[in-house]
Structures are given as C-alpha cells and as structure tokens.
C-alpha cells in the first residue's frame, strides 16, 4: 500500500481537492517502505521497518493558511482532513510573505531516481549483508559497528491551480566503523546509492577494516598548516555546509558570507579557484533526484559556481519576487566537477601531506567567513614521496570551505555521497589547531 502509482495517487488527490471550499488548496501524498538494521560489537543490535503513507492538505483563505494530515484515505477521512485544514487556516494569522500557489508546471523527467532492485530489498537481504560484513571482521579479529538503511518512496502533489507532480525514488545508505580489539585503530567506509546494483558491503567492510588495522599506533605530529587530501567522505560536509549557505535573502540582508560590503550580494564575483565548478542536476544518472521542490517549483540544472565565480543563489518565492531576482529553489544534492584522478592517484602525486578519511562533529564558528571546526576521525595518515608512511593522531581543524576552495592543489574523480557527487580534494595550508587522543 505504501507505494502508490501516479494514477492511484492523483485519483486520491483529485478527490481531496474536490472537497475543498478554500480559496486555494494543495494536497501532497507521500509514502515510504523501507527498513534498517544496525550492528555493534560484531552483532546485530537493532532492526526496524518503516511502512507509511500520509497525506498533507494545505488550505488557504486569502493570506491565511492551515495544514492537516491523515494516513487513511477513505472518503470520510479525506473530507475531515480537508475540513480540519480549512478550520486551522481560518484561525491562522495572515502571512505577510504570502505567495499564491503555482499553476501547472513542466518538470524534467528523471526515471533513474527509482531502481527496482532497491525497492525489492528484503529483511533477509539486510541481515545477510550485515552478517557477511560481521563475519569478515570476525575472521580478522576486528570489531564492527554498521548501519544499513534503505527506502522506496513516492511523492505526489496536486493543487487547485492545476499543478500536478509525481515521482518515485529509492535510496540506500550504508556506513561501517571497524575497530581493532585494543581500541587503537579505527576505520570507516560509507556508501549511498539509488540502485542496489552498485552496492558491495564486502568491499566497503574491507576498506574500513584495512583502515582500522593500518591506523594502529598513530604518531603524534605537530598541529599546523598542512597539505591535505580530503577523501570524499571528509570533503562532503564542508562543501554541503557552504552550499546550504547560498541563500540570497541572507546575503541581501547582510548576514551571509555572500553579503557584499555596502549592501547587495556577491553574485558574479570570483570567490574560488577557477577549477571550482559546482552545479545541480536532478536528471544526472549517478545522482538522480526529485525534479520538483517541496513547494512545487521545478528543479532544473543550475550552475551555482562556475570556474570559481558565484553564478546563482537560491531563494524563496517570496524573496525572488521582492528582490526581483531569479526564482531558484535550493537543490537537494549538488555536483562538484571532478578530474580523473582517484584518491590513490592524488596520494602518488603528493610530496608531503596528510590523508584524511573523514571529518567529524563539524560546527560553525563564524558565519561571516564560514569558519568551521571539527576533527579528523577513523583513519588519518602521513604521506611522503607519494606514499602513505604512517598513521597520525587525529587533529582538530578550524577552516573555511571558502578558504579551502582557494587553496586548491588538485581535484580528483567525483564519487556519490549523500546524494551529491563529491571529488577527493588536495588542499594546501589546511589549518589543524590541536591534537586529539581519540581513536
């Protein structure tokens, strides 16, 4: 029941709209079937399943709006849900940022966002994958903790102005942390796909296990500025934080790293190394995504940064109209254009540097400069003459993605992570401010 076809979903939504007495009405149906399994200390700790469909109805009277939801779809329940949304709307204050609902939209097609193999995952399959991963670690006398989570979802939208949208998506995430029994070594691997066909638990477990074994007896080296190779898992969050800060209203209001001295924003300015190009594309075969935003705006291919120049900022509909700027919704994932070199190739080309597997507990320190702090974790290694020489103790860093993307030495081949395409990055003068004893 959780996954409705386009026709089934739109039939329910049409019925919902037919009950509306409001000035405007929008109905959204979404459903997810999925499951997860978690392990720690090489044994399964918890497992669970999700099976849910829900309907949200937004009714509007003038500039007042109300939302109600339900998860049963018989006629009486639907009617009550619409009534409740209308009652709540009538009591709500007027929104000074009211924007009328949109009429019919043209959306791109992104059929690759659904993979049948992922939708067909069973609890047995999850247990087998985690089980195989645990067995691999048992054999090597290592301890693993892992999480496997998959989902098959749909979303359908329809409003009283004629907008109509539907899409189905699948997703799977896997993370694993492998530790040595003495607690002196720790390794990590992560994967995220739309299509199960690309998933290989054994390969990921081996990567994490190798990192765990080779990170034992880490040497302490002085904190300071180092050339680093950030693996995609280390680069992703810093870059995502920056992408999440590209809101035009904050910039125009003077409270963003994109605010301009004296007013306005930095659109059109070159802020990064010219090898930096970041865009989003919901039809990209490797990171297929929703082709419409939560409010129904179409998701198109958008270039955010091109050859180091800020090309676009995203905005709410209200702010786009008020500031007379392009109406672009924030993307859900982003793609950084990469090169051809793998992380291993980047290591080969490095005279002296530090390989970072992953960054952890990243927090904003100064929104003015996008300065973040956090720590390395689960595999940090010293590189000399193109080779990994020895594991080093973890560092705390204080660094800004804006500074990182100016101190760029090399960009490797992008891989998928968290719905983004993220290349490994080689960066000079990355700022480590202290050492951590954590493993």
């Amino acid at each position: 029941m959780a996954i409705l076809s386009q026709t089934e979903a739109q039939d329910i939504l049409k019925k919902v709209l037919s009950f509306s007495t409001a000035d405007e009405c929008e109905a959204t149906l979404n459903g997810t079937i999925g499951g997860n399994v978690r392990s720690a200390r090489n044994t399964i700790s918890t497992a669970g399943a999700v099976d849910n469909v829900s309907l949200a109805v937004q009714s509007r009277f003038g500039k007042r709006s109300g939302v109600a939801t339900c998860n049963e779809f018989d006629e009486a329940t639907l009617r009550r849900c619409v009534q409740r949304a209308e009652e709540i709307a009538k009591l709500a204050p007027e929104s000074p940022e009211y924007v009328p609902l949109m009429g019919p939209q043209k959306y791109l097609s992104s059929p690759a966002s659904f993979a049948k193999r992922t939708a067909d995952i069973t609890p047995d399959y999850r247990a087998q994958q985690i089980g195989a991963s645990m067995a691999l670690c048992d054999a090597k006398k290592l301890s693993s903790a892992a999480f496997f989570n998959d989902s098959n979802s749909f979303i359908a939208k329809r409003n009283s102005k004629g907008l109509e949208a539907y899409q189905q998506l699948t997703n799977l995430d896997f993370t694993i942390t492998v530790r040595t029994p003495d607690g002196l070594g720790s390794g990590y691997a992560i994967a995220n796909y739309t299509d199960l066909a690309k998933f290989d638990a054994a390969r990921l477990t081996r990567v994490a296990a190798e990192k765990a074994a080779s990170s034992v007896k880490a040497k302490a080296i002085e904190p300071g500025k180092y050339t680093v190779i950030l693996e995609p898992a280390a680069a992703v969050e810093m870059l995502s934080n920056m992408m999440r800060s590209m809101d035009s209203r904050n910039a125009d209001e003077g409270r963003s790293f994109l605010s301009k001295k004296g007013g306005g924003n930095k659109k059109g300015e070159k802020m990064f190394d010219e090898r930096v190009t970041i865009y989003s594309d919901p039809t990209h075969p490797e990171v297929p995504d929703l082709t419409f935003a939560g409010d129904g705006r179409p998701q198109q291919k958008v270039t955010w940064i091109e050859k180091g120049v800020v090309k676009n900022l995203y905005t709410s509909q209200f702010w786009a109209q008020k500031s007379n700027s392009p109406d672009i919704p924030p993307p859900s994932g982003w793609i950084m254009e990469g090169g051809t070199q793998s992380t291993a190739d980047l290591i080969k080309g490095t005279a002296k540097g530090i390989l970072v597997t992953r960054l952890w507990y990243i927090r904003a320190v100064d929104p003015q400069t996008l300065l973040y702090t956090g720590l390395t974790r689960d595999g940090t290694f010293y590189i000399e003459n193109g080779q990994i020489k020895f594991p080093v103790k973890n560092f705390r860093f204080n660094e800004s993605p804006v500074i990182m993307l100016n101190n760029l030495e090399a960009v490797g081949k992008a891989v998928r992570l968290g719905g983004n395409l993220v290349p490994p990055l080689k960066i000079r003068d990355f700022t480590f401010t202290s050492l951590s004893d954590a493993v």
Partner: protein, 584 residues
Amino acid sequence: MASRNCARAALSFHLRFVPIFTNPPVLFPNLYNPLKRRDFVGLTGLAAGTLFLPNFPSFGGTPVDPSRLLEPGVDAAMKKRLADAGLNAAKAAGATYADVRIGRYLNQSIFTREKQVQNIASGESYGAGVRVLANGTWGFAATNSVTEAGIAKAAQLAVQIAKANAKVQKEKVVLAPQKGFGDVTWKTPIQLNAFEVPVAQKVELLLAANAKATDNGASFVNSSLFQINEQKYFASTDGSYIDQDVHRIWPTFSVTAIDRASGKFRTRDALSAPMGMGYEYLTPKAADKIAGAAGTGLIGYRNSYDILEDAALAGKQAKQKLTAKSVTAGKYDLVLDPNHLGLTIHESVGHPLELDRVLGYEANYAGTSFATLEWKAKKIPFGSKLVNIVADKLQPGSLGAVGYDDEGVKTKQWDLIKEGTLVDYQKTRDQAHIVGQNESDGCCYADSWDSVQFQRMPNVSLQPGTAKMSVDDMIKGVDKGIYIAGRGSYSIDQQRYNFQFGGQVFYAIEKGKITEMLEDVAYQANTQDFWNSCSAICDQSDYRLFGSFFDGKGQPSQVSAVSHGSATTRFNGVNVINTARKIG
C-alpha cells in the same frame, strides 16, 4: 483502508532540525547526516519548505488546532486495559518480559522575526510501542492503531522480530530486577500549562521581545517558543502501570547586528534555558535574577526568564560585538557562566559516561569514550578535588525530571564524579550487570511511542562550591582571564578528549577586573586537563540550570532533552584561539 502497524527499531526522523539560528539548537554529532537526506517531512510539513532547507523545525505529529492540546487523552483505566492486551499477547507469543508504552505527544512551536509571525504549529502524535524479550533478545514494534487488537498485533510482531534476531545474537540480554509499582502517577510540577495561554498572548510576547532587540541596535531578530507535553503511560510484565504527564518549555531568540559599510555582522542568542516547567517560566521574578560579573550588564536567570530584558541587552551586545577587540590567542584563566558551562559539562562529562558508548554500541555514529571500565579502574583524576558531578532525574524544573523512566524504573540521584574521581556511569536495566550492579539508574528514554527506548543522558550537574563566593569574588582573583557567557559553537571528538567551545559574549579580565568586550574567542582543551584545571566554583546562590532540547543519539537518530546545573566556575591556563579569518 486500515491503518498499518509500523515495526520500527527506532523511529523515522520526525524532528526536522534546521539552522534557523547561527548555531542550530541541536546537539547532533553531525549536523549534516547523509542518512537523513531522503526525509520527506519538509514536503508535507507546515512550512511547505523544501527538502534542502526547510524553514522551521517541527516536532512532527498530526497538525492540530491549538485547542486540541488541552483536550484530555484516554483515561488511565482504558490505557491499562489496552496495555494488558499487549502484555498478554507478548507473553502468549513467548516473551519472557514485555513493556507497553502508550504515548500522546503534544507540541506547539511559534516562530517570529522582527514584526511578523512566521509560523505557528501545533502537533499531536498518538500511538503505542511494545518492547519484548524473547529468547534472550530484544524485539520492538509500534502501532498507531491504539486498540486492544492493534497493540496485541504489535506485541506479536515484536516477539517475531526478537526471535529472528536471537538467531544471530551472541550474548543474551540480562535485565536488572525491577519491582512493579502497581498503579502510580507523576506530573511535572507546573503552575501554568503553556497550552492554556492563548497563542495571541505568546505571539505578543515574542514580538515585544523582538521590538526590544531592534530598539537597542539589532538589525534582525528571530524568536521562537517551543512547548512540549508528553502524556506517557507505561505498563510492564513486572506489574507497573505508570501514568506520567511531562511538560517542557523553551523560549529563545537570535539577534543580528549588521554594519553595512564594513560588511560585518554579529549575532547574540538568548541566555534563556529550556526548562521542565510550564508558562510560569516566562513570568520574571526578581528572586530568580542573578547578577553576572560587574561591568557586563549580564543577568543570569534561575527559574524564571525575563525575555524582554534579555532581548534589550542582546540588541546592545550584538552591536557592541561589531567593534569589540579581537582576542589575542594564548593561555587564559576562564570564568565560565552556568549558561555556558552547561554545554561543556554535557559534551565532556555527560556523553563519555554513557555506558552504551563506553561499551562500543555507538561506535558507528556518536562514538565511544575515553572513560572505559579499565580507565576508571586506574582511578586517574578526571578533575581536580573541587569537581563533584552528580547525575539525577529529580531536580525540579529540569528537563530530565520524571517520576519513572521509560522502562519503569523509579528515578534517583547518584554520584558520577566524586572529588575529581570517576565513580559511576549512566545505566539502563540491561546494562547494570555489566558493571556488577543489580539496579538500573533509570536512564531509559524514547523520544516517541514509535521509537525504541534506550540509554539517554540524565541531568548531569556540577555541584556548587561550599565556601561563599560570588562571580565578582571569583573575578577579583583572576590576573589574566576571559569571562564567557552563553552557548556558542561546540565540537568534541568521538571519544570526548579534545573539545572546542565558543560562547555568546566574552569579556577580558585584567588584574581582577572586567575591562572590555572581546570577540573571536574559542577555547580548546583536553577533557581531563580542563577539569583538572578547575580552581574555584561559586556557591549555591549562583547555581542554575542550562539545558538542551535536542540531544541526538542512535541510528536512526532520536532526540532527548536534558539539563545541566552549575555555578560560575574558574579554570586556569586554558588555551584560547582567535577565530577571525579573512575571505574574498
């Protein structure tokens, strides 16, 4: 179409946490969580926001009219009958232990900016979760069909899951004994249920606070009010039928000052604390105000909060921060206000003493702990002799206060650190035996009926000094130091050694006096070095609670609310860095 049973080891993520403030009010280990990307709450939520950056956090549940939040739930006799159906079904299916939690979770959030309301959301979530032990293994299932048949079906599913998992389980679960309490009740001792206060009155207060901030120099201000009521019924095969009514409230704001000419901006967040109280927290009382260090204008708030006064000061301070002196990096003696120190206690003491982390159960996400059982046995000083830290689920007004935890254990207070030495951890029933104890500490909590209960942090508080000492007395003895108030940037490693904290306001202390405001301050330390450098603690009259509404843990992630009490405390020779950078 019938409603479905959802079998979940833990919940789908129904709290959408968002950086509406400079530093999001969430203590999640990682703000960016790749596993949460396909969360559709943003699409159906009140904000009608987007997947990428929804506008407002929501506590989930079904959106309801505010008046619904005052309607009574099902009566206790009915809940007992429903729960018994689940317990009996579980036993019949082969469970050796079972508990049923019937939960009605109510919430309301109000968001404003400057002169306008941005969002008002009232929500209700109702359902039941059944946890069972079968073949020595846990199983859990939840249902929103709160009928005898619905709960019985969830119980059978939970037993099925337990038996399936038992096949790959290596160690059987051992539960500490727990006597049944029969029919008992507990209620947060509130004076005024926040849901009884008209929404218009609450909006008016927030808008008045916004006006105070802008009148005093703020360019922008966002304010919000979160209100929670958990109506929880717990029943177990031990013979407990526990009915609890738990209330929490959190007023907060973030003020921004901007200097257009230089392009500089600075923020100052509220110095309120989320509390286990009713709306009475928002009626300021003179007796609850504690003066901060002389020369700063700061005021600490104990059991009531003056949002208008704090917003006015925040407007002034945000503006002052634009031109404050940038700190010179180096070693300083730190004088830390309780509204700041609470978060340092949370991260560097609260988390490393969670027994599940110590044992490795959180290795893949939140991490493990330096304070292992072997480390404890060595009796290495965690802190100086002045450091006494207690855990409790009792303090009136605290977020952790309840009568019983989510597995039917009566709550208590116990020592974690005594005169600088680690003496105990935080435990649940299935962990007590691991450290040779035969009772739980009452640390079990689930954030919803559809998430499984597990070990969560109780209140963890630093005891005040026994000798009389005010903040000004403390500052008199400091030659070169920094006074820090408010919760700023925070980050700590996965074993809780190395941390870095910022704050909201910073003042230089020179030769026993506050001299001027500082900016770009963060301190970095090692947990043990830091607590061993603790050299003075103000007395009881300065003691108050800090709190967090959103402490994150587990996969899928759950939140919990927790308080941390302390008095202003001095730490000697801590490393301070300057966080100013130049871009573009």
